[in-house]
């Protein structure tokens, strides 16, 4: 426990981070180690290149986008706090924590998870997944297996299906509705620390 304390003590604002993300100190400690491992040269922050060292990401069709999601607009670095905050999206829902009405939306709520996913599609941040944006994602996910034509038809159908207001794009609301039946809590959660 001593070592964990010493690790934790290096993290500034630990209390707030725990409060905000819901991670336990053990989680944080582990993530901090991971952060340090990724952080080549102990800069105290991660650059996009640091993420490049994670080999699996290269084979992940939307790895780039996910890396991109760690960097807020226009920034080239991500510090530990943001790093943890992003990952906190994927914390499973709390089992028994009663929801206090006054508390802000927890970072790992269904909505936040969805919003995170939505932002991966919505690269220009206009609050809508346009046909082109959808096509881009589809293209990467399907790799070279289908023709452009097929991609487009899939994209078209997808939009038709989800588009409720007829603007030929998927807004966040529409996105949420189209996934209403999906067990997001399950699909967008990972077990940290086991």
């Amino acid at each position: 426990m001593g070592s964990s304390n010493s690790t934790l003590s290096k993290i500034p604002n630990l209390g707030r981070l725990i409060e905000e993300t819901g991670f336990t100190p053990a989680h944080i400690k582990r993530l901090y180690k991971r952060f340090q491992a990724l952080d080549k040269g102990n800069k105290g922050y991660l650059s996009p290149q640091d993420f490049g060292s994670v080999k699996e990401l290269a084979t992940n069709p939307i790895g780039d986008r996910i890396i991109g999601a760690f960097f807020s607009q226009g920034q080239e670095t991500v510090d530990f706090h943001s790093f943890v905050r992003i990952l906190a999206h994927f914390r499973p829902l709390d089992k028994n924590r009663a929801k206090r009405p006054d508390s802000p939306e927890p970072i790992n709520s269904r909505i936040s998870k969805l919003r995170f996913a939505f932002q991966l599609y919505d690269q220009d941040n206009d609050g809508k997944i346009s046909r082109d944006e959808l096509l881009q994602v589809l293209r990467t996910m399907l790799e070279m297996q289908v023709t452009e034509e097929q991609l487009e038809s899939i994209a078209d159908r997808t939009i038709q299906e989800a588009d409720l207001d007829g603007d030929n794009a998927i807004s966040f609301d529409e996105f949420r509705k189209s996934l209403e039946k999906v067990n997001i809590e399950h699909k967008m959660s990972s077990r940290f620390l086991h």
Partner: protein, 970 residues
């Protein structure tokens, strides 16, 4: 129960007629006589022509006790009685047909029972079918008992384990939602292994304790081992019962998969425990050595792992075999049934866990097999499996009921029965709570209290336990009769009482129900994205979590397994694309089934056409498809009727000629004309559709988009046109298929060899969509495929020039033979062929038409999918719009299987000459085709009607049907 009564009469008669007969007039002939007097009459004086041996050995020993009570009859061997008294006009050949007859009668009874149950919606919504079936079985058993004083039937373990159970497990395994299953595999395994062990030992020890305490009667002889044995067989949750009850309850899918998965996977535990304890009982508890316990553990591992391995091996084998069934599509389903069944039998052979083996075989092969086999085969497999499983389940429950009515079985001990009931319930509940408590530490979505209640309550026992207890050796296990009676009570209690109350309970507790909907394309895409996101996040966070490994597995699967087990053509298609197509097909089928016109389900893309209503309709319709069988019927019908033509060695000549026969047109002519009266109605619709299409097409021209896809509102009022829809579909079958092939392949998978290409082609043909013409095109196509394209072309041409003796087409389609009666085709229907002579004129009129965009003639709406596909094709294939198969194509035989390349080429050319058409730019013109087409085209054009027509057939207009006319222009 109102309907049960008549049923009973019927069945009683059937039973009596079928079986009691033989059992001798001595056994209350009066009862039977009423049922089948003629039978008695014709039966020779010797009255029972059937030799008991036969009866008993007949394989499926439905009437096992028959041998017990016909010693008398053995004396008169059937033959003597048959042929004894000179020539008889009618002979009673009961012994000959007996076994299959009885089986058939039983199945019939079971099926009729189902019909009757479902006459009343109210009853079936309240009472699970399994309960009704058991009740029916009880009554039937009573009838048999009264009639023959002996119980003739019972659920035979052999029959059950070798035939009935595998059908159910096979169905369950093959259609297991694998993602869900593996997501919850850890939980399922814990419940199946730990839970079952816990139940078995606790129940066994507790019962033994009760015995020692004197609560269980002295008559129940047995030591600890006997009770442990009993505990082992009574503790396993039964897959058949769980399926039967839970399918009607519709709890949420996670809950269902956990309970059901547990019931399947606990088989291994049960089998091992059962065998171990039996051997312990045999050698006597005193002689059991420590080593034996370890052997037990070892055998547990072997049975488990071995069973799973056998299943997976067969899965690989099966997937691999289906890679090569392209030419024998008709027996594709057979391979699946056989190999899955063999997985089961093989596991039994080595006394491994057969259920485990079959389950994993089904789960493992499903992905690859489904990708490899044709759409029709998929449907066939699905329905056959469901049918078999359903009937097996029915029979199991009926026989459970019947088996209970047997005096010889009833060795009642209140202490044992009540203790068992209490213990299995209590320990189940305790086990579930304890395990869930542990599991919830690990589960992403914890199981809450409601789930636990349902899981405890859902611990139904069933036929497996019964079969196992019947299998006990009465000499070694003295208390067998007591155990049998108790098992029956337990089964009845769990299935009837718990089965009856679980629904209200679930409702009352407000357990989340399953949404019961098919995935939409949105869900598919986003869920895939989620998987990728999660995998990436785990990688970034440095966790080797579930998604990490899943991702690794997917990579492995993609790089090696799929390559090995899937056809190249399939492998190269994106999975998402497959899903997309499946969803489309599903929608299309369901819309058609409802008599609608599948306009909106295809690749709809014109925003102007977007209409929310139609779309949601379609998506809802998706659900409707679930149990809808009509599509299948069509399927099978066609397979049947056409199967004669599936000889593969047909000469090119033959192909050509058949190709020109216009068979479908003829065949559906009657059909079509039946709806001829409604033409006015249709016209209106058609006009509407046409106008819409025109509009959309124009828009698409305007826009830079190179796709012309129209999306159309589904016409609700089209019920009447169902027939014509079907026809269109059929008719269009060919072009569509070609088209779609074109659509996918050239770009995705640069084709290496003609062979491969042809393979893809063929696959495509089979797989795309609802093709109603099962065999025909295949037949035609396959031989063709082998030859290099240019060759083929030559052949065609030369053949075509051969002055045709009047072909069918000529006879039936006047314009085919000579130009004389042409007008017919130019008329209202889009599905006509424009005679060559008229082409020119037609062309002109069309172009003028197009400019007007308000056609006098309405287009007959094609099958939307077809249209969409053809459109897409057209777009890419250089707007084969010119060739306009849309219009004329349909009129021709769907089997029209000419090599696409040529057609494309030709059409390409034609279109090029057509300004309108060419305005759409082909995204990816098929290279091969275009070049070939070039060279060929002039000759084909003018002098060879066949080829020319061919081009009409297969190319489709980029825009849509209306335009299809345009192309006719050639």
């Amino acid at each position: 129960m109102l309907f049960v009564t008549p049923l009973l009469l019927v069945t009683a008669v059937g039973v009596a007629a079928a079986d009691l007969y033989g059992t001798e007039a001595s056994v209350r002939p009066e009862t039977a006589v009423s049922a089948a007097p003629p039978a008695t009459l014709s039966a020779s004086p010797a009255a029972s022509p059937y030799p008991p041996e036969e009866y008993a050995e007949a394989g499926i020993a439905l009437a096992r006790s028959a041998d017990a009570h016909d010693p008398v009859e053995t004396t008169d061997s059937g033959d003597a009685s048959h042929h004894g008294g000179g020539y008889k006009i009618v002979q009673w050949e009961w012994s000959y047909v007996q076994t299959p007859y009885i089986i058939a009668i039983w199945i019939l009874v079971a099926s009729v029972a189902k019909i009757l149950f479902h006459f009343s919606q109210r009853v079936t919504t309240v009472v699970p079918e399994s309960c009704l079936l058991i009740l029916l079985g009880l009554v039937l058993g009573g009838v048999v008992l009264i009639a023959s004083k002996k119980q003739l039937y019972q659920l035979e373990p052999g029959l059950f384990f070798l035939f009935l159970l595998p059908t159910i497990v096979g169905d369950a395994g093959y259609f297991m939602p694998s993602r869900l299953f593996f997501d919850n595999l850890g939980t399922i395994l814990v419940y199946a292994v730990v839970g079952t062990l816990w139940n078995a030992f606790c129940t066994g020890f507790s019962l033994y304790g009760m015995k020692l305490a004197g609560i269980i009667d002295e008559k129940v002889e047995g030591g600890m081992m006997e009770f442990l044995l009993f505990g082992a067989l009574i503790s396993a949750v039964d897959p058949v019962a769980v399926l039967a009850v839970f399918e009607e309850v519709h709890v949420n899918e996670t809950l269902f998969i956990i309970v059901f998965g547990e019931s399947l996977l606990n088989d291994a535990v049960t089998v091992v425990l059962y065998k171990v304890f039996i051997s312990f009982v045999e050698v006597g508890p005193g002689n059991v050595q420590t080593a034996d316990y370890f052997k037990g553990v070892a055998s547990f591992l072997i049975v488990n792992v071995g069973g799973t391995l056998v299943g997976l091996i067969f899965a690989v084998l099966l997937a691999f075999v289906t890679r090569f069934t392209k030419r024998v599509r008709i027996i594709e389903p057979l391979f699946i049934f056989l190999l899955v069944y063999l997985a089961y039998l093989t596991a039994e052979l080595f006394s491994l866990s057969a259920i485990l083996s079959m389950t994993f075989c089904g789960i493992g092969c499903n992905k690859y097999v489904e990708a490899n086999i044709s759409q029709k085969s998929r449907t066939t497999v699905k329905y056959t499996m469901k049918t078999l499983a359903s009937i097996a389940e029915t029979i199991i429950f009926i026989f459970l009921g019947i088996s209970a009515v047997d005096k010889s079985k009833w060795a009642w001990d209140t202490g044992l029965v009540s203790c068992t009931l209490i213990f299995i319930f209590v320990f189940r509940a305790l086990g579930v709570i304890g395990q869930t408590w542990v599991l919830n530490w690990f589960r992403l979505v914890p199981l809450d209290k409601l789930d636990q209640v349902v899981m405890s309550y859902g611990g139904l026992r069933g036929a497996v336990a019964f079969a196992l207890v019947v299998l006990l050796d009465g000499h070694k296990v003295k208390a067998k009769d007591y155990f049998v009676a108790t098992t029956i009570v337990v089964i009845f209690f769990t299935v009837m009482f718990q089965g009856l109350t679980i629904k209200p309970l679930v409702k009352w507790l407000k357990v989340p129900r399953s949404t019961n909907s098919k995935p939409t394309i949105n869900e598919e895409i986003h869920e895939r994205a989620f998987d990728h996101i999660l995998a990436a996040v785990e990688d970034i966070a440095g966790l080797n979590g579930y998604h990490h490994w899943r991702d690794k597995w997917e990579q492995f699967d993609k790089n090696y397994l799929s390559k090995l087990l899937m056809r190249k053509s399939v492998y190269h298609k994106g999975e998402l694309w497959e899903v997309y197509q499946k969803i489309n097909i599903r929608d299309a089928i369901s819309v058609i089934d409802q008599g609608g016109n599948v306009l909106s389900s295809a690749r709809l893309s014109l925003p102007s056409m977007a209409s929310r209503t139609s779309f949601s309709e379609v998506t809802n319709v998706t659900n409707y498809l679930r149990e809808n069988g009509s599509g299948v019927c069509l399927d099978l019908q066609v397979i049947d009727t056409v199967s004669g033509g599936k000889v593969e060695e047909e000469t090119e000549t033959h192909h050509l000629l058949t190709g020109n026969l216009y068979k479908p047109r003829r065949r559906y002519h009657a059909h079509y004309s039946r709806h001829f009266m409604t033409v006015g109605d249709k016209e209106r619709q058609d006009r509407e559709v046409f106008q819409r299409n025109m509009r959309s097409r124009l828009e698409s021209f305007k826009s830079t988009r190179h796709k012309a896809k129209g999306r159309h509102k589904k016409e609700r009022s089209q019920k009447k046109r169902k027939g014509s829809d079907a026809k269109e579909q059929e008719v269009n079958g060919k072009p569509r298929r070609n088209v779609s092939w074109q659509d996918t392949d050239p770009v995705t998978a640069p084709v290496d060899s003609p062979e491969e290409r042809s393979e893809e082609e063929a696959d495509k043909d089979e797989d795309v969509g609802i093709t109603f013409v099962a065999r025909k095109h295949e037949t035609l196509k396959e031989p063709l495929k082998e030859r290099p394209k240019s060759d083929m072309l030559e052949v065609y041409q030369s053949l075509a020039v051969i002055p045709p003796s009047p072909t069918c087409a000529e006879k039936h389609l006047p314009w085919k033979g000579g130009g004389g009666t042409l007008p017919v085709c130019v008329s209202m229907e889009t599905t006509k062929i424009i005679p060559i002579d008229l082409q020119q004129a037609w062309n002109q009129s069309i172009s003028s038409l197009e400019s007007l965009a308000s056609p006098p003639v309405q287009a007959e709406p094609q099958h939307p999918r077809v249209r969409a596909l053809s459109r897409a094709e057209a777009a890419r294939g250089g707007n084969s719009g010119g060739s306009d198969s849309g219009g004329s194509g349909p009129a021709q035989d769907p089997r029209f299987h000419f090599p696409n390349e040529e057609e494309n080429g030709q059409s390409l050319q034609q279109q090029e000459s057509q300004p309108l058409m060419s305005s759409m730019k082909p995204p990816a013109p098929p290279q091969v085709s275009s070049t070939q087409g070039m060279g060929r085209r002039p000759p084909t054009f003018n002098r060879n009607p066949c080829v020319y027509l061919r081009s009409l057939v297969s190319a489709s207009p980029p825009g849509s049907e209306p335009r299809s006319r345009g192309p006719t222009q050639l």
